[in-house]
C-alpha cells in the first residue's frame, strides 16, 4: 500500500466539518444546475410533443406511409357472340424508386450490365421522369420476360431501389383482328397528361391511343386502386396499412362477329390485298365486320412501338395505319349507278321500261364517252343496265337528271356526309354539285363532268362504309340506320350501362317504291345469265349485288397494257357490294380491294365467303332439305 502514501484507513477518515459544510453548499449549487438542465429538457419535450405534437405526427405519417397506385384492369372487349377478343394479363415491369437508391448512377450501370441493356435507354426513361416525386416508381423495362423477372427478384438485395411492378397488359385473343376498330394502348404523353384530369392520370399510365380503346377510354379505364404501406427508412415495405382495390373498367361487347371478321381479314390477307370489308345488318345498323387490310400489328404496340416498326408502317404502300373502312375515300365506280337509277326513276326521267341504245359509246359535245363494253350492249332497259352495268344508259340518265339531283339522291343514300359511326377520323366523302365546283375551283360545271359522275367516276368520292350503308338502305326499303359497333357496355357487376338500339337516321317518303326495281337489277347482277358478278352465286341463297371499278388514273400510256402489267398503284380499285337473302335482306356486305382491278373477280369472292360464313347454318339446312327432297323424288 506504499503507493497511496497512507498507512491505514483511519488517517483518511480524519475530516474537518467546516470543509464538509463548504462542499455541501457546493452540492446544493450543483443540484440547482441539475434542476436547470432538467427544466430545459422538460421544456423541450413539451415543445416537441405537446406544442408541435400534431405537426410531428403528420410528418411521422408521411415518413412511413407510402401510397402506391394500383392500375385498374381495363374493361374486356367481346365480340357479338360473347367471344373474348381483348382481355388482360399481368405484365411485369422493372421499376426504379429513386428515393430508395443512394446511387442511381451506379445502380443503373450495374443493372444495364446484368441484363445486357442499353444504358442510354435507361437514362432516357429517368430523364422523362425527372419532374416526378422521387418516391414514384419510374418504369425502366415494361413487360419483361420471366428470365429477367426471376433475375431481378432473386437479386433484389443487390439492386436497392429496383422493384418489380405488376400491371395489367392487354391480351389480344384474335391477334390483330379488327385492330383498327379496337385500337391500341400506349403510355400517356405529356400533351395528353396536360389535357386530362390529373386526379385520374399520372405519367406512365396507359391510355387508349386509337380506335375504341381511345374513344371508349372512360368506359374501359376503370378506377385505380391504391395501396398504402408502411415503409422503413430503407424503403422496404413493412406492412400493408390500407388497400383500395382497383375497380375494373366496363366491359364492351361489340356488334362485330369475330368469325365473320376473321373470314374477311384472312381472305384479304391471303390474297395480299389491301382494302376494306364492311358487313352490316340491314335492319338494325349493327356492324358485323369492319375489316381494313393490311391489318394493324397490335402486338407491336403493347410495350410501346419502336421507331423502326412505326416507320415501316408509315412507309408501307398499302397504308396499314389507315382504317380504310372510314378513313379512305375512293371513287364509287359503278356501285354509284343505283343512285343515278333512283334519281332517274324519282324524277320521272326513266321508268322501268325506258330503253336506251348502247353502241359501246356515247357522244356528247365533240367527245366520245365509252361504255366499258366497247362492243356495246344494244337496247338496254333498267334491269339490264344495272345487271350488265351499261355506262351509256347511265350517261343518258345522269345527263337528263343533272348533277345536283344526283348529289341529292346520293346524300339520301348516305353518301357525301359522315355516317356518325363510332370510329375515328371518318371521312365524309364527296358528292359534287355545281355550287361545290364553283366554290372549290371557281369554275362553271361542265355537263361532260355529269357523265362521269353518273357512272361513279369524276369528282365522286366515297368510303367503303358509305357504300355499305347505301346497299343496306336499298335492301331494307329506304331506311338509313346509324351504323353502330357497340352491342352493350356492362359494368364490373354485370349491370348493363348501355344497350344497342337501332337508330333510323332518315327514312324515304315515297321514293322507296322504286327500290324493288333497283333490287331486281341487283339480283340479276349475281343471279342473271349475263350478270357481272355471277361467280358470287351461292347455291340456296339469292343475292343482290353490284360490282364496281374505280379508276385511279386515266393514263394513255397504260391503255394498251394488259391490266396485270400496269404498276400496282395505278391499277383500278375493285368494288363489290351486295345484300342477301334477296327475298328478305338481312345483311349487306361491301368489299373494296385497292388496285384489285375488277369488282366481280377482285372483290366478289371475299363477299361471297362472308355470306357463306354468315348463312352457314341456313345454307346447311337448305342443303339438307334439298337432299331430302331429292331422295323423296327418287
Amino acid at each position: 500500500m506504499k503507493w497511496s502514501g497512507y498507512n491505514n484507513l483511519e488517517e483518511l477518515t480524519e475530516y474537518d466539518d467546516a470543509d464538509l459544510d463548504f462542499l455541501k453548499r457546493r452540492i446544493v449549487f450543483a443540484g440547482l444546475i441539475v434542476l436547470c438542465f432538467a427544466a430545459i429538457i422538460i421544456a423541450r419535450l413539451w415543445f416537441l410533443q405537446v406544442h408541435k405534437g400534431d405537426e410531428y405526427r403528420d410528418r411521422a405519417d408521411n415518413n412511413r406511409v407510402r401510397v402506391r397506385e394500383v392500375a385498374a384492369p381495363r374493361g374486356n372487349i367481346f365480340d357479338a357472340k360473347s367471344r373474348k377478343m381483348v382481355t388482360n394479363r399481368p405484365s411485369f415491369n422493372v421499376v426504379l424508386v429513386r428515393e430508395d437508391s443512394n446511387d442511381v448512377d451506379k445502380l443503373l450501370k450495374k443493372l444495364a450490365t446484368a441484363l445486357d441493356l442499353d444504358i442510354s435507354m435507361l437514362w432516357e426513361k429517368l430523364r422523362d421522369a425527372s419532374t416526378k416525386p422521387r418516391h414514384i416508381p419510374v418504369r425502366l423495362l415494361v413487360d419483361v420476360d420471366w428470365q429477367t423477372l426471376a433475375y431481378v427478384e432473386n437479386h433484389n438485395q443487390e439492386f436497392p431501389g429496383i422493384r418489380i411492378e405488376t400491371t395489367p397488359a392487354r391480351v389480344y385473343h384474335y391477334e390483330n383482328l379488327a385492330a383498327h376498330a379496337i385500337g391500341y394502348l400506349g403510355e400517356i404523353s405529356k400533351k395528353e397528361l396536360a389535357a386530362r384530369d390529373s386526379d385520374i392520370y399520372t405519367g406512365g399510365d396507359l391510355i387508349g391511343k386509337m380506335g375504341l380503346e381511345r374513344l371508349r377510354e372512360t368506359d374501359l379505364r376503370g378506377e385505380k386502386g391504391s395501396s398504402s404501406s408502411e415503409v422503413n427508412a430503407r424503403g422496404f415495405e413493412q406492412q400493408l396499412l390500407k388497400s383500395i382495390e382497383p375497380l375494373p373498367g366496363n366491359d364492351i361487347q361489340l356488334t362485330i362477329d369475330a368469325e365473320l371478321q376473321k373470314v374477311a381479314e384472312d381472305l384479304m390477307d391471303s390474297g395480299g390485298k389491301a382494302g376494306a370489308v364492311v358487313a352490316m345488318e340491314v335492319k338494325t345498323g349493327r356492324m358485323l365486320a369492319l375489316a381494313s387490310n393490311p391489318v394493324l400489328p397490335l402486338n407491336q404496340f403493347v410495350g410501346g412501338i419502336s421507331h423502326k416498326n412505326w416507320n415501316a408502317l408509315l412507309d408501307n404502300e398499302k397504308h396499314p395505319l389507315i382504317n380504310k373502312v372510314v378513313q379512305a375515300m375512293y371513287p364509287p365506280g359503278s356501285t354509284y349507278k343505283m343512285i343515278t337509277a333512283m334519281a332517274g326513276l324519282s324524277t320521272g326521267v326513266i321508268d322501268k321500261d325506258t330503253v336506251f341504245y348502247c353502241p359501246g359509246f356515247y357522244t356528247f359535245g365533240n367527245r366520245r364517252y365509252h361504255c366499258w363494253k366497247h362492243s356495246g350492249h344494244g337496247a338496254v332497259n333498267l334491269k339490264r343496265a344495272i345487271s350488265e352495268s351499261c355506262d351509256v344508259y347511265f350517261y343518258q340518265v345522269g345527263l337528263r337528271v343533272g348533277v345536283d339531283k344526283l348529289a341529292e339522291f346520293a346524300n339520301k343514300f348516305g353518301l357525301g356526309h359522315k355516317s356518325g359511326i363510332e370510329l375515328e377520323h371518318e371521312k365524309s366523302g364527296l358528292t359534287p354539285t355545281k355550287e361545290w365546283k364553283k366554290k372549290k375551283y371557281g369554275q362553271k360545271w361542265q355537263d361532260g363532268e355529269t357523265l362521269s359522275v353518273a357512272i361513279g367516276q369524276g369528282f365522286n368520292l366515297v368510303t367503303p362504309l358509305q357504300i355499305c350503308l347505301m346497299t343496306a338502305t336499298i335492301a331494307n326499303g329506304g331506311k338509313q340506320y346509324l351504323p353502330q359497333i357497340i352491342e352493350k357496355v356492362t359494368d364490373p357487376d354485370g349491370k348493363i350501362i348501355e344497350q344497342f338500339e337501332p337508330v333510323v337516321v332518315t327514312e324515304m317518303t315515297g321514293d322507296e317504291r322504286f327500290l324493288p326495281l333497283i333490287r331486281e337489277g341487283m339480283e340479276e347482277v349475281v343471279q342473271g345469265r349475263r350478270g357481272t358478278a355471277r361467280l358470287v352465286r351461292i347455291k340456296g341463297l339469292t343475292i343482290g349485288g353490284k360490282t364496281g371499278t374505280a379508276q385511279v388514273v386515266r393514263l394513255k400510256e397504260y391503255k394498251h397494257l394488259k391490266e396485270e402489267d400496269i404498276p400496282y398503284k395505278f391499277r383500278d380499285h375493285a368494288w363489290f357490294t351486295c345484300y342477301a337473302p334477296a327475298e328478305d335482306p338481312e345483311i349487306a356486305v361491301t368489299v373494296l380491294v385497292e388496285h384489285g382491278l375488277h369488282g366481280g373477280s377482285g372483290a366478289g369472292p371475299v363477299a361471297r365467303a362472308i355470306l357463306e360464313a354468315y348463312f352457314s347454318g341456313y345454307l346447311q339446312l337448305h342443303e339438307e332439305t334439298e337432299k331430302a327432297a331429292k331422295e323423296e323424288e327418287e
Binding site: 500500500m1 503507493w3 497511496s4 502514501g5 497512507y6 498507512n7 491505514n8 484507513l9 483511519e10 483518511l12 477518515t13 480524519e14 475530516y15 474537518d16 470543509d19 464538509l20 463548504f22 462542499l23 455541501k24 457546493r26 452540492i27 446544493v28 450543483a30 443540484g31 441539475v34 438542465f37 432538467a38 430545459i40 429538457i41 422538460i42 423541450r44 419535450l45 413539451w46 416537441l48 410533443q49 405537446v50 408541435k52 405534437g53 400534431d54 405537426e55 410531428y56 405526427r57 410528418r59 411521422a60 415518413n63 412511413r64 443512394n102 408502411e230 415503409v231 422503413n232 427508412a233 430503407r234 413493412q238
Partner: protein, 376 residues
C-alpha cells in the same frame, strides 16, 4: 474487513435501489420495444441486457462488502489496468464503424473507455480528497490531475471516440470546479482549453466528427446524413404527442427511421411510445435518482465519500443531459449513451458500479474511524 455490521443493513440505501430498479425496469422494457420485432438470429439485445443487468447487480452486491475508502488503495492499480486496456484496444481491439473501441472477451465485448470514466472519477476523488486546499487549488496543484486525465483522454481520442473523450474532460472540469480552484487557475484553464480546442479542430478531429458539429448548426442542409438522424429523432419524439402511441406501437422506431434506436436513441423510442406524460414520468424517476445521489454526497461521512458520490452523479448526469439534448435536437450526435437506458454492456456495468459506490458511501455514512476495520 468482511465483518458484517448490522447497521449496514439498517443503513442500506433502499431508496436508491428502488430508484435504480425503477429506471432499469423502464429501460429494459423500452429496450424490448426498441429491438422489436426480435431478430431471428443471435441473442436479442433485450435478453443480453437483462443478463448484464443481473451481473451488474451481483457486482454491486460484491462491492458493498468493501469499504469505499479502500478505493484509495486500489485506485492506482485500477488506473494502470485501465490504461493498459486502452492501449490494448488500440492494437487488438475490434473495430466497428471506423473506430477501435472493444476488446472481445468472447461472451462480452468490453469497452475500456467506459470503465475509464468511472476510473477517472475515483482517481480525481482520491486526489482531491487527499490534497486539501482551503484557499482553492493553484496551478501547480493541477498538474497531477490534468496529466491523469490527459493520458486516457488522448488514448480514447485515438480510437477515435470523441464522445467518451469529451466525457472525461467534462468529469475533470466538474470535479475540479467542485473542489474549488483559484481564479488564476480558471484563467489559465480557459486559455489552455481554448487553445487545445482550436488545435483539436484542425489537427485531431476527423472529418465526420467535424461534420457532426456543423450539421447541428444547420440540420436541414444534410437531411440524409447526421441531420437526418436528429430530424428522425425529433419526429419520433414529437409524434408521440401528449399520450404517446402506446407500448410497441411506435412507428418511427420499428420502421428503422430512427437510427441507433436501441443504443444512443433509445429514449426517442420511449418518447414516441409514451408521449409527454410518459417522458415526464421517466425523467421524474431518473432525476430523482440523480438528486438522491447528490443527497448521498451531502450526507457522506468524509471528503473522499463526497467527491466519489459527486463524481458518480456528475458522470451519470452529464451523459444523460448530453444524450437527451442530442435526441431532442440541441446537440450534435456525439455517441454518448443514456446511462442505464441505452443498450451496451460496458456502459451499463460502469453505471451500475458507480451506483454501487453511491450505495456504499450511503451505507457507511455513520461509520467512525474507531469502528472501521484496520487494514493490517
Amino acid at each position: 474487513m468482511f465483518r458484517i455490521d448490522r447497521r449496514f443493513f439498517q443503513n442500506f440505501d433502499w431508496i436508491l435501489l428502488l430508484l435504480l430498479l425503477g429506471v432499469a425496469g423502464m429501460a429494459l422494457m423500452n429496450l424490448y420495444s426498441a429491438s422489436y420485432p426480435p431478430s431471428p438470429w443471435g441473442m436479442p439485445p433485450f435478453v443480453k441486457q437483462c443478463y448484464l443487468f443481473l451481473f451488474g447487480m451481483l457486482c454491486i452486491l460484491f462491492i458493498l462488502f468493501f469499504d469505499y475508502r479502500e478505493l484509495h488503495f486500489w485506485n492506482y492499480p485500477f488506473y494502470v489496468l485501465i490504461i493498459i486496456l486502452l492501449l490494448l484496444v488500440l492494437f487488438v481491439g475490434n473495430s466497428a464503424g471506423g473506430a477501435q473501441r472493444w476488446i472481445n472477451l468472447g461472451f462480452f465485448r468490453l469497452q475500456p473507455s467506459e470503465l475509464a470514466k468511472l476510473m477517472l472519477v475515483v482517481t480525481l476523488a482520491s486526489y482531491y480528497s487527499r490534497k486539501e486546499q482551503t484557499e482553492g487549488y493553484g496551478i501547480r496543484d493541477m498538474i497531477t490531475p490534468v496529466l491523469l486525465t490527459l493520458l486516457p483522454f488522448l488514448l480514447i481520442m485515438k480510437q477515435p471516440d470523441l464522445g467518451t473523450a469529451l466525457m472525461l474532460g467534462i468529469i475533470f472540469v466538474s470535479m475540479t470546479v467542485f473542489a474549488k480552484i483559484r481564479i488564476q487557475t480558471y484563467g489559465l484553464g480557459l486559455v489552455l482549453g481554448g487553445a487545445a480546442g482550436v488545435f483539436a479542430w484542425f489537427f485531431l478531429l476527423r472529418d465526420y466528427q467535424k461534420r457532426r458539429i456543423e450539421t447541428l448548426l444547420n440540420p436541414a442542409k444534410d437531411p440524409m446524413g447526421q441531420g437526418y438522424q436528429i430530424l428522425q429523432s425529433k419526429i419520433a419524439v414529437g409524434s408521440g404527442g401528449v399520450g404517446g402511441k402506446g407500448y410497441l406501437e411506435g412507428t418511427q422506431g420499428h420502421l428503422h427511421f430512427l437510427p441507433e434506436r436501441h443504443t444512443d436513441f433509445a429514449f426517442s423510442v420511449w418518447g414516441e411510445e409514451w408521449g409527454f406524460a410518459g417522458s415526464l414520468f421517466f425523467l421524474g424517476v431518473y432525476f430523482t435518482m440523480l438528486f438522491w445521489g447528490l443527497y448521498v454526497a451531502m450526507t457522506a461521512r468524509d471528503r473522499f465519500g463526497v467527491f466519489l458520490s459527486f463524481g458518480v452523479v456528475m458522470l451519470i448526469f452529464w451523459q444523460a443531459v448530453i444524450n437527451l439534448l442530442m435526441i431532442l435536437g440541441f446537440l450534435p450526435v456525439v455517441g454518448i449513451p443514456l446511462p442505464l437506458v441505452s443498450y451496451g454492456g460496458s456502459s451499463l456495468l460502469t453505471t451500475l458500479l458507480g451506483l454501487g459506490i453511491l450505495m456504499n458511501v450511503r451505507m457507511r455514512r455513520f461509520q467512525t474511524g474507531q469502528n472501521a476495520d484496520k487494514m493490517k
